[in-house]
């Protein structure tokens, strides 16, 4: 196996392992913290969405002055990929944009 093939193979292994490991950790954490989840579920979703928006989207650009509600889902989906948001953060921002 050439050096180049080893490098590409290494990249693929890392790319597969990172999400796999992260998922395992996330599942473990989920089991351990059911109580915490109940607490977080009671949080004000819109306020959390605002916090996530400020911490992620506003880091790079100012919030637009306004946009039609029918594109809010598309904007947030776009942000999810661009800013590597997780699914929970995507939902929180969507709730913040559509209270």
């Amino acid at each position: 196996m050439s050096r180049m093939q080893k490098f590409i193979f290494g990249l693929i292994v890392i790319a597969v392992l990172i999400p796999a490991l992260a998922q395992t950790k996330a599942k473990t954490r989920t089991k351990k913290s059911e109580t915490a989840q109940t607490t977080s579920a009671s949080m004000d979703d819109s306020a959390r969405g605002q916090k996530v928006f400020e911490q992620n989207c506003s880091r790079c650009h100012n919030a637009p002055e306004g946009f039609p509600p029918q594109v809010s889902g598309t904007i947030v989906r776009h942000m999810r990929v661009r800013a590597s948001l997780n699914a929970a953060d995507e939902k929180a921002i969507l709730r913040f944009l559509n209270p």
Binding site: P19, A22, H61, V71, T74, V81
Partner: protein, 350 residues
């Protein structure tokens, strides 16, 4: 001739059928909040370097469309006309037109930690290319001096990319990107054969982010590029600090950018609150000439001062002055720009 006509006709009908299918899929999959949209920026930029002024009307539209729950298609193009002095003692101006795709990619959200990207995408090295390069976002009209390092000259890659949030809680968010690009000499999909990735850790409480990037050029002379970045945006403040470091085989450099929007004086929509002074410092150190790394050909120091003004209705006026000190010669750079950011859905709500 008849055969050629028949083939062309078949291709045309197949293309139309493909377009109609895509449109039908888009229309059918659209939910109340998932309408496709066109966003982007349009503006007019002037740049005066060493006494020569270039005028650039520019528009950079971006399309984003969602297909179902997991698939998204997005693309950005840049269309500009550049008017610059003829030079050589001749009076008047010449002009060049440019139309190019920055990216055209399909994103598949595989699970909550992984998105798969295919097509032409912005090369994920450092932060500037992916986050700050759009004209409606960047504080300065010009990219940093180290921009070419790691982005392989084209700033776009053609191939595949894996990215997502690896780990996330209230204390830390870790995200990753890994990509591979094939060589492409197509005019609209120009890319070098390369691979690389980036890992970033964001600390929400401190509002700070650190990250590292790696890229390897895999054609002609194989070269490694390494980068690092640090961003800090304190909570309850309009101050932002962004910085990047890039190392290429024969040069390395960094840039630090700090900006502060004067929203403290009456809020973001007040007269002074719309003003945003920006400062950027850059240095590049070179030990040998290298046409591949995209950095200046000699040691260069540069400081940029900008005053950006955010007008209502998504219009921004940028003005900046830079002093560049280089062993190739010192020069002043004056730049101004007015940029309008737009966003509208492709069709009205049902």
């Amino acid at each position: 001739m008849a055969t050629n006509h028949s083939v062309r006709s078949r291709i045309r009908w197949r293309t139309l059928a493909l377009q109609a299918t895509c449109a039908a899929v888009l229309l059918g999959s659209v939910e109340a909040q998932n309408a496709p949209y066109i966003s982007g920026g349009g503006g007019f930029i002037t740049s005066t370097k060493g006494g020569n002024t270039t005028y650039i009307p520019i528009i950079a539209p971006e399309f984003v469309g969602v297909l179902g729950d997991h698939v998204m298609v997005e693309s950005r193009a840049t269309i500009l006309e550049s008017y610059f002095p003829r030079g050589g003692g001749s009076p008047g101006y010449k002009h060049d037109a440019f139309l190019g795709l920055s990216y055209l990619q399909a994103n598949v959200i595989a699970n909550r930690h992984l998105s798969i990207v295919a097509g032409e995408f912005l090369t994920p090295f450092g932060t500037y290319n992916e986050r700050l390069s759009p004209i409606w976002i960047s504080n300065f009209e010009e990219a940093p001096l180290t921009f070419g390092a790691g982005t392989m000259g084209t700033a776009s890659s053609v191939g595949g990319m894996l990215r997502g949030s690896a780990f996330s809680n209230d204390e830390i968010n870790v995200d990753y990107v890994a990509y591979f690009s094939a060589a492409s000499t197509n005019e609209q999909f120009n890319a070098e054969r390369s691979s690389g990735g980036r890992v970033s850790a964001y600390f929400p409480n401190a509002r700070a982010e650190v990250g590292a990037s790696f890229a390897r050029l895999l054609q002609n002379t194989h070269e490694n590029f390494v980068g690092g970045h640090f961003w800090w945006e304190p909570a309850d403040s309009h101050f932002r600090l962004r910085s990047e470091f890039a190392h290429a085989p024969h040069a390395h450099g960094y840039w630090i950018e700090a900006d502060y929007r004067l929203a403290r004086f009456g809020g973001e929509r007040s007269l002074p609150g719309r003003l945003e002074p920006v400062f950027r410092m850059q240095q590049v150190f070179r030990n040998r000439l290298d046409a591949e790394d995209g950095m200046p050909s000699a040691d260069t120091n540069r400081i940029d001062f900008a005053l950006d003004y955010h007008l209502p209705h998504e219009v921004r006026v940028n003005t900046s002055y830079a002093r560049e000190l280089s062993s190739n010669g010192n020069r002043n750079i004056w730049q101004t720009g007015i940029v309008y950011r737009f966003l509208f859905p492709l069709w009205r709500d049902k």
